[in-house]
């Protein structure tokens, strides 16, 4: 997974052609850390058609707020720089729900 930040988000996500999944997380967020290994597995499975990025919100709070990310974990899904889907909060961000969005995106 590609670690992106406030400097690289524009180029890596918004300017990227095709599908991008962004995992918003923080070291304080236990559900986020718990989800990470499963997301890594999905990155391996769908990596050829979808670009996987993660953003540590602690270091990129303004970027998170700019994307209306106000709770963790949050997953945003982009196609050609446009946000097409979103999962916000630990109840919404189940591995099953994430994979379902990836399938739609791939």
């Amino acid at each position: 997974m590609l670690e992106v930040n406030k400097e690289t988000f524009e180029a890596e996500v918004l300017q990227a052609k095709g599908a991008v999944a962004v995992d918003w997380w923080s070291p304080q967020c236990e559900p986020c850390k718990e989800l990470m290994p499963e997301v890594e597995v999905m990155a391996g499975k769908y990596g050829s058609t979808i670009k996987f990025c993660k953003v540590n919100v602690i270091e990129n709070r303004r970027l998170a707020l700019g994307n209306k990310v106000l709770g963790l974990p949050t997953f945003l899904f982009f196609k050609d720089g446009q946000k097409v889907a979103e999962l916000a909060g630990p109840e919404a961000c189940t591995p099953e729900a994430i994979e379902a969005e990836l399938k739609k995106l791939a």
């Binding site: 304080q28 967020c29 236990e30 559900p31 718990e34 209306k68 106000l70 709770g71 916000a88 909060g89």
Partner: protein, 421 residues
């Protein structure tokens, strides 16, 4: 080669003990299970530690002074792993708990079998159920301060609730937020939290209060912008601008998967268990932790439940083993004498049974069952008094004698003749 079995859990012998849920209750049960040399499997669907793993400040776990939930749960987990407990990360979908062998099926489609089960599935935060809450979840509405506090640095938030969790998490939020306003149902000065926490809250200048009020609606276009508060005395509605809403109004037990399994739940879904032994209404199934109907839900009481449940499970397995070995599996007919040290008559019956059996050439195997030590067994076979004598053939009760033992010797002789045929 020696590990071959471990690679194929589905073809293995049933586990002695399967624990569903890896919070403080489940991990403590696993520690006790492993130390009692039970082959123990712990199933956890997400992060070990349960709700405690998302609680920032923990100050009432004896011996740890001031610690954090994640740190304490990491220690629990290391301790559990160190004792050799098998741990798997799977989500339980379906259970069959009624039989002698309990079956647990996971969403991945795996099937695990155990002779005893401890259910410690925990609980999750209760939602307010007001307009705007669902759409703004993760957009300023949060149930986890440690997860989301950072977003609200130098912003204003409200906290709903006045219990221990609400007060503790409000104190944590003050480290980030400009102001934390607690919305409390009760009249001024009354909160549900313990006194020590309340005093810390009152002493904190960043915490403000709206008394005797409830949230009627959460408003915002994409993100939280305000809450509508209703005063419970006057019914007046007021709108208050805020950046975030943190909800700590109790929990809902994670017992959805236990509905219609025969396990007794109360009307709110909490598991019902004997508070002495954690035994549920199903033989060999025990309940522990926050999902059990109980008076105090804390890490320390969850751990206590887990320890009791594991010891009760161990006793259950020993009794079952004893029953199988002494009563159900022998090829010869078994004369089971239920006795009690307090009943002289039952001691006499034990003696007569021995003499009559010797006289008859040892047709029967004698099994002595202490009624009070084996109350559950007695109940299973409908034995309510001592002495009682049950005759088992191939694991089934074929005859019984209760109450009047005047003709006991004659009865035994008759049975000897029948058994010989």
């Amino acid at each position: 080669m020696a590990d071959l079995q471990n690679q194929h859990p589905t073809v293995m012998e049933p586990y002695d003990l399967i624990i569903v849920g890896g919070g403080p209750a489940g991990m403590t049960a696993a520690i006790y299970g492993a130390r009692a040399k039970m082959r123990t499997l712990l199933i956890e669907k997400a992060k070990h530690g349960g709700q405690a793993a998302t609680t920032e400040e923990v100050e009432n776990w004896p011996g740890s002074g001031k610690t954090t939930g994640p740190e304490l749960m990491k220690q629990f987990r290391e301790h559990t792993e160190h004792l050799g407990v098998e741990m798997i990360k799977e989500d339980v979908a379906r259970v069959d708990l009624k039989g002698e062998i309990k079956v647990i099926e996971t969403r991945k489609g795996n099937r695990y079998e155990g002779r005893a089960v401890i259910l410690s599935p925990g609980a999750h935060p209760r939602t307010l159920g007001v307009k705007g809450e669902g759409p703004l979840r993760g957009k300023g509405v949060s149930y986890c301060a440690t997860c989301d506090a950072d977003f609200f640095t130098e912003l204003d938030v409200v906290v709903v609730g006045s219990g221990d969790a609400a007060v503790e998490e409000s104190l944590y939020l003050t480290k980030f937020c400009e102001s934390v306003t607690m919305i409390v149902l009760h009249p001024e000065g009354t909160m549900d939290a313990n006194k020590a926490s309340q005093e810390r809250a009152y002493a904190n200048p960043k915490i403000k209060y709206v008394w005797q009020s409830a949230i009627e609606e959460i408003k915002g276009d994409g993100i939280v912008e305000s809450v509508v508060l209703k005063h419970l005395g006057t019914g007046d509605l007021t709108e208050m601008p805020t950046n975030g809403v943190f909800v700590f109004i109790g929990t809902v037990p994670n017992t959805e998967f236990l509905k219609d399994t025969g396990l007794a739940l109360d009307s709110r879904g909490y598991m019902l268990a004997d508070s002495e032994t954690m035994a549920t209404n199903l033989d060999g199934v025990f309940a522990a932790g926050d999902a059990r109907q109980k008076w105090l839900r804390q890490i320390v009481t969850a751990a206590s439940d887990g320890a009791i449940a594991a010891c009760a499970a161990e006793k259950y397995l020993a009794e079952e083993e004893h029953l199988r070995h002494e009563v159900l599996e022998p090829k010869e007919p078994v004369l089971a004498v239920f006795w009690s040290p307090a009943s002289k008559e039952s001691l006499d019956v034990l003696g007569w049974a021995e003499q009559a059996n010797t006289a008859a050439g040892g047709t029967f195997k004698l099994a002595r069952i202490d009624l009070y030590k084996s109350a559950r067994l007695a109940q299973r076979y409908g034995v309510t008094q001592v002495p009682s004598v049950l005759l088992f053939m191939n694991g089934e009760v074929v005859d019984r004698l209760e109450g009047n033992f005047d003709d006991f010797t004659h009865w035994i002789t008759e049975k000897t003749v029948t058994a010989a045929k």
